[in-house]
Symmetry: C2
Subunit: 462 residues, 2 copies
């Protein structure tokens, strides 16, 4: 079905989004002219609503977010949050399967859905006169989903095929899955959002319905409407649609098992005959926006930028330009997470350069930053760039809506988003050096090596 | 308190026991003169009873086993099974704290308790005339436990101190904990039996009581009495004591999240200033008695024996004697487990030999065994030795009781135990070679390195 194809990229898109959005959150709040227009209120049934007026075009982005993701699944049922996202397109008594998507398509709209560790979201981008209809559809499927085995079983095959395409047939994705599992020794972030294949295979209609009834309730949802609307219009429409959905469950507190203090550096080596180009990736366990001490997440954002964002970053300049060891190298920080999260580094050697040489080059860059810190000039450029990025990002209504959604799903408030640029401005060169010293400690990390499997058993095992 | 001190070694003893017992189970059943006397029956409330007559001395070993261990805990509550084991000594309304232990001591008996991944057990060794009293005490605390915060909180400190002694102050144990966590990416065997310290700290009286009420019920227990008793005597006593305990819960099926197929070799490096002697250990994910195809667990037992049991094993001969690389080297297999389990290899280099040299030596021994297999003579000697070991083991009543307990807790039946020697006898040299080829694949493994931390930051991070 159409939406299934459209959703094929949703998982990886969500991951990229999450990585990108912490940057956007960081600085677009700097535009004082924009944020004062954002309003938030709560309906009687506990559903939060956020309105982001943007009246340049007669369109709206309508996003409904649920505070449930793969980290909220019961152990042994991995993939259930994502599977349910698929099943939400299977129709209700009022609106049979396909009708919602068909209407979106007929009125020239776009739709998508995505699942992450911490959230599940659904959105449509339509003309402003269609907003009420989107709300009616979305409110209807919040509690009215009809599932039979005839529906559930074929969709399970769709999800398994998605797992094939994204993970099983993608050596890099398989390595990432293994690295993440070896990084999180206790926390459910260690399991893949799409699920472990052997567990996906066992998911049932009953599993999906139990999960749906536990987590899909207005008091566990946040509606975000960005576009050509006023706050009063959205309030009236929301009350008349979502406001009629009863509070049907009290979802459990999102308290996941936390990691023990990381004390041992780990490696993971994945060999596959399809690997054309070896590469390495290292993930460090670090605090998120939600778990960091004040200012520390902003420092990690700036650290990721200086270390590994773009061709002017330290890693790129050292490994790609100066030493000629790598064809790519960089770093990222996934600040948007309810619990401790990942700071990532990666590098791909040039032909005839070993992974070990690239790793030594990366270690040297990190060691130098820890020892000597960053310059005031680097800090200024990073801050300027982060803010400039978000000025551009604000030009996209859907991006705005997503950025608020991700932040609100991962422990931030609208006020936190407003305060973010001040936190970025407050970061000092010492803060960045301290963040590097504290968090880029190999004992907190897993280094993954993607290597070519040449079929010789000896090497396969080493 | 006395029993707390006595129980200090219970966890590690249980682990050693489990490793050792699979061997014992393997062959003591060969003594046809012994096993026909073993009887098993079930009480009306669902409690299984096993009687192992042994009339050489007027003593009995009384063991009560519960089918609950750390792998049955709720994520985030690690350590709860073991903590509850401690709390079971805190008294009931009928028998206040300390009374049970005091009586055991007064009558000259011994007692102990232990917790493992898959089971929790309590035992006393007393004169035969005291058996009824032991049963009365043990039946009383199956459902009558009284816990107040005054009792629970100090005991939590006892457990935390135990964690300090066994794990936190023991670099080798810390490494083992990390290796196990990196081996099991999804299955709860990845968490320590004693619990992650940060989770132990959060355990409460309510947690303990909920766990107790869920799992401590006669239909989840197995009574094993070995010693100077007849089956009829035990039946009468058991009916008059345990038989009166109502079935108070229906414990959930022991279906734990299973591992995804292991595809990537992992390493874990733990550096600590207290390390006097570096060492390495490697754990492979392999089938257990319960999950293996027929005959495969017996082949793994023989493989572990030939590869690494004692000074005549391949690893010892190659690394310690022939090459002079190591001061110790060996292998073991923990067959007794409900789910896929571990096959371990270890080595400790001589001074001035690197871990890498020892690892290469180990890899060479494994590669040779995979390539060339074992000799008929090696197989014969291994079988003879396994059987001889268990003949000696049968001389100890408590060992007999434990071996039945471990087997029954991990998916075996009394008939399985009886059939074991035949399965050992059926193993061929090809079976052992195939087991090595299939299961000693580095992609299924985590190799742990214990190294000295010399305090230099550069090395600490590498």
């Amino acid at each position: 079905m159409g939406f299934a194809v459209k959703r094929v990229k949703s998982l990886s898109a969500a991951a990229l989004l999450a990585a990108a959005l912490c940057v956007m959150i960081g600085s677009s709040a700097a535009r004082a002219a924009f944020l004062p227009d954002v309003a938030t209120f709560t309906l009687g049934n506990g559903m939060q609503v956020v309105v982001i007026p943007d009246r340049r075009q007669p369109v709206v982005t309508h996003m409904l977010w649920y505070k449930v993701g793969s980290a909220d699944e019961t152990p042994g049922k991995s993939g259930l949050a994502h599977f349910l996202e698929h099943l939400l397109f299977k129709g209700t008594q009022k609106n049979p399967a396909g009708r919602f998507s068909q209407v979106v398509s007929t009125i020239g709209g776009q739709e998508n859905a995505f699942t992450s560790n911490d959230y599940t979201g659904y959105y449509q981008r339509v003309l402003r006169e269609n907003l009420r209809q989107m709300m009616e559809f979305e409110a209807d499927r919040m509690t009215g989903l009809v599932l039979t085995d005839d529906i559930v079983k074929p969709e399970l095959n769709v999800v398994l095929e998605e797992q094939n395409q994204r993970i099983a047939n993608n050596p890099g994705a398989k390595l990432s899955e293994q690295v993440q599992a070896a990084l999180f020794l206790n926390h459910p972030y260690g399991r893949p959002v799409i699920g472990w294949r052997h567990e996906i295979e066992g998911l049932t209609r009953d599993d999906a319905l139990a999960f749906y009834r536990r987590f899909y309730t207005p008091n566990n949802a946040v509606l975000i409407v960005a576009g050509d609307v006023t706050v009063d219009e959205v309030r009236t429409l929301a009350e008349e649609t979502y406001g009629k959905v009863p509070r049907i469950a009290e979802p459990p507190a999102r308290k996941r098992p936390q990691e023990p203090p990381p004390i041992a550096a780990r490696t993971v080596t994945f060999a596959d005959p399809r690997v054309a180009q070896p590469s390495l990736q290292r993930d460090y366990l670090v605090p998120s926006n939600a778990t960091a001490r004040k200012g520390e997440a902003a420092a990690l954002d700036i650290l990721a930028h200086i270390l590994g964002s773009g061709s002017n970053s330290r890693l790129y300049r050292s490994l790609v330009i100066d030493k000629g060891l790598a064809v790519s190298a960089g770093a990222w920080y996934q600040g948007s997470a309810l619990d401790d999260t990942r700071f990532g580094i990666y590098g791909t050697p040039r032909p005839n350069v070993t992974l070990q040489q690239v790793e030594e080059g990366i270690d040297a860059v990190i060691a130098e930053l820890i020892e000597k810190g960053i310059t005031a000039d680097e800090l200024d450029r990073a801050r300027t760039k982060l803010i400039a990025d978000t000025v551009f990002a604000q030009d996209n209504q859907a991006t705005l809506a997503r950025w608020f959604g991700v932040a609100l799903m991962t422990g931030s408030t609208v006020d936190d988003i407003r305060a973010w640029p001040d936190r970025v401005r407050a970061v000092t060169t010492d803060d960045v050096q301290n963040a590097a010293r504290t968090w880029l400690d190999k004992r907190r990390s897993v280094t993954g090596y993607l290597v070519r499997d040449n079929g010789r058993a000896e090497e396969k095992r080493s």
